[in-house]
């Protein structure tokens, strides 16, 4: 009985502590509302222009635009391990957008992740990066957004479980994981490097996808660029763990980021596609700065990796290989001979080889699979995605197309093909758990489709 009573007291005290802690956090995290204003006008066109370039570097439109929706009107479902968060309307609509936000409120949202009304924002909005953006750049971004077409559109309510649906808990998250900016230049490096670091770590928020996240959904700072997961894709490591068969250089990174493809690496797919699309329209120097910074973070490949890369680059530079036909002789190619009794090889020969051994140049010809990071990577997730869904045709833009094979390949056939590709085109150890990975991809697609149609 006494024990029970003691237990009751302990429980009571525990509850009290939780309540007090929550109250304390709520008090600590309290932020005032900033008074609304009438939608401002009369922005300097030059500043709007700068803001447009910055918004492209920040890739704002990709998350803040729903499929088929108006630009910046929000409503895109962002599936997270914790639930679904919907992007908000950042057009200057006074009622559903940010039309009544004064510049100070916009600056605070970027620096601290707090909206005009003083509510904490979820870090799906990557303010842990945007906090680094300078006041001057925030001013230009504000000018750009406030001169967009206002669209009346209210984002669906977030679908998050308790207690994550209580925004004050985000104050605790920020206490632990948000290092407030703005960016401070590193005097050990030159201006170009600092410009690259400022953009890559800040507005361009590369780490939001390419850095792994901890249990709280925060980036693991000591594993920067070690690879992460985003929207059903694996964002490859871009440091010493990079799976690229030919090591990246500042120059190849620049072309990849600028054009969306590089002959030794293939095309930007998944969430990286829109990033490259955006970077095609910003000042070249900024893309070069980002590329140079990322290359410096990667460090130089060791002598062994460089030797392998050079050999591979030389071997793949000459497209004359099995199946090669001059382009003028029509599109048909002869598939490589099928070694008998290997079902993976048979599927590859009949399904993949016609394009991937055609010798047609990048980006419209299939990539020589010896160069594929998707095949050389630690996770088969990207390869599964690309085989199942292909590379879809882009509306109103030219680009490479790969047909989807989801309907043609059973899970078993896909596994067989994956194992064959890994064995033939990379020197990495065989993947384990391919069956689970294939099923997880299928389940993830179903969940994502359900969230999108919400």
């Amino acid at each position: 009985m006494r024990l029970l009573k003691a237990g009751g007291i302990a429980l009571g005290v525990g509850l009290l502590l939780i309540v007090a802690g929550a109250a304390g956090l709520a008090a600590y995290g309290w932020r005032p509302a900033i008074d609304p204003v009438d939608p401002p006008t009369g922005f300097d066109p030059a500043m709007v222009e700068t803001g447009a370039e910055l918004a492209a570097i920040g890739n704002c439109g990709t998350c803040h635009t729903a499929p088929g929706g108006k630009p910046f009107a929000g409503g895109l479902a962002l599936p997270t391990p914790f639930g679904t968060v919907y992007s908000t309307n950042i057009t200057p609509d006074p009622d559903t957008g940010i039309g009544r936000w004064p510049e100070a409120a916009f600056g605070r949202a970027m620096r601290e992740g707090v909206d005009r009304a003083g509510r904490h924002l979820y870090p799906a909005f990557p303010y842990d990066h945007f906090t680094l953006v300078s006041d001057a750049d925030n001013q230009a971004l504000y000018a750009f957004l406030m001169t967009r077409q206002p669209v009346a559109a209210k984002a669906p309510a977030n679908d998050l479980p308790f207690p994550l649906n209580q925004r004050f808990v985000l104050a605790g998250w920020k206490l632990l994981f948000l290092q407030p900016g703005p960016y401070k230049p590193d005097p050990a490096h030159d201006a170009a490097w600092n410009r690259g670091a400022y953009l890559a770590e800040g507005l361009a928020h590369c780490g939001a996808c390419h850095t792994p996240r901890n249990l709280f959904g925060a980036e693991e700072k000591d594993r920067r660029f070690a690879g992460g997961d985003a929207e059903g894709w694996h964002a490859v490591p871009i440091g010493s763990l990079s799976p690229a068969p030919v090591p990246w250089t500042a120059d190849s990174l620049f072309h990849y980021l600028r054009d969306g493809w590089h002959g030794q690496h293939g095309t930007a797919q998944g969430p990286m596609g829109p990033v490259a699309d955006s970077l095609a329209a910003v000042p070249e120097d900024d893309v070069r700065a980002i590329a140079a910074y990322v290359a410096s973070v990667m460090g130089l490949p060791d002598a062994e990796a460089r030797k392998r890369g050079d050999a591979l680059a030389a071997a793949t530079a000459d497209p004359a290989g099995p199946g090669t036909r001059p382009q003028s002789a029509g599109s048909q190619t002869v598939a490589a001979a099928v070694p008998a009794q290997d079902p993976g090889a048979a599927i590859y020969a009949g399904t993949c080889a016609a394009c991937h051994e055609s010798g047609r140049p990048s980006p419209f010809g299939g990539l020589d699979l010896r160069l594929s990071s998707a095949i050389a990577g630690d996770s088969p997730a990207n390869l599964i995605r690309i085989i199942r869904h292909g590379v879809p045709a882009a509306s109103g833009a030219r680009g490479p197309i790969m047909p989807a094979f989801a309907a043609a390949l059973s899970d078993r056939q896909l596994e067989t093909l994956l194992a064959y590709l890994r064995g033939r085109f990379s020197d990495r150890p065989a993947w384990t758990g391919l069956g689970d990975a294939v099923r997880a991809a299928r389940d993830g697609e179903v969940a994502a489709a359900a969230a999108a149609s919400h």
Binding site: S331, I347, G350, T351, A354, C355, P392, A407, A408, S410
Partner: protein, 168 residues
């Protein structure tokens, strides 16, 4: 020998396992609706259904189609008894040269199996992988809307599936 089930009929195929499904359909089974366009899965004229989903049969070796349900345009109706999509394409005169139309119809069929009330944006998105060089796109859109309308009405079996016996 490969056993291939096409439009509800199982047949033995003599072709090598790595032969593209399209060649088997046209060359061996005389099912000539699916067309050879680019041979690289880029144009959509060779589209057929496997298990009710669209595949480009020019880049699918026949070995992958074994033990699965293949449906070609012939499975959606005949000249004498055209299915609702085929009637709609005729009514709207949606074909110019007609080479892409079987693929378009197969894609539309897969879409209408999922929804009988597709928006224009959904139809356009679904047809994105299909090229028409004649420019009959507006008529193709109209035909698909008409077919959806007709399939919604009670007179017509609402959803064809590859698993069911085709209308022959």
């Amino acid at each position: 020998m490969i056993e291939l089930k096409v439009n509800g009929r199982t047949q033995s195929i003599a072709a090598d396992p790595d032969t593209p499904l399209l060649y088997v359909l046209r060359g061996e089974l005389q099912l000539n609706a699916a067309k050879y366009g680019c041979g690289l899965g880029q144009c959509g004229s060779c589209a057929v259904l496997i298990g009710g989903e669209v595949v480009f049969s020019c880049v699918v070796p026949v070995l992958l189609a074994e033990n699965k349900e293949v449906t070609t345009l012939e499975g959606l109706g005949t000249e004498d008894e055209p299915g609702p999509l085929q009637r709609a394409f005729i009514a709207e005169q949606a074909a110019q040269c007609g080479y892409c139309i079987p693929g378009m119809m197969i894609r539309a069929h897969a879409l209408l199996r999922k929804t009988l009330t597709p928006s224009d944006a959904e139809i356009r998105r679904a047809l994105q992988p299909h090229l028409c060089r004649c420019g009959t796109h507006m008529r193709i859109l109209r035909a698909i809307r008409r077919a959806a309308q007709e399939m919604r009405s009670a007179a017509v079996e609402p959803r064809g599936t590859a698993a069911r016996e085709p209308v022959l």
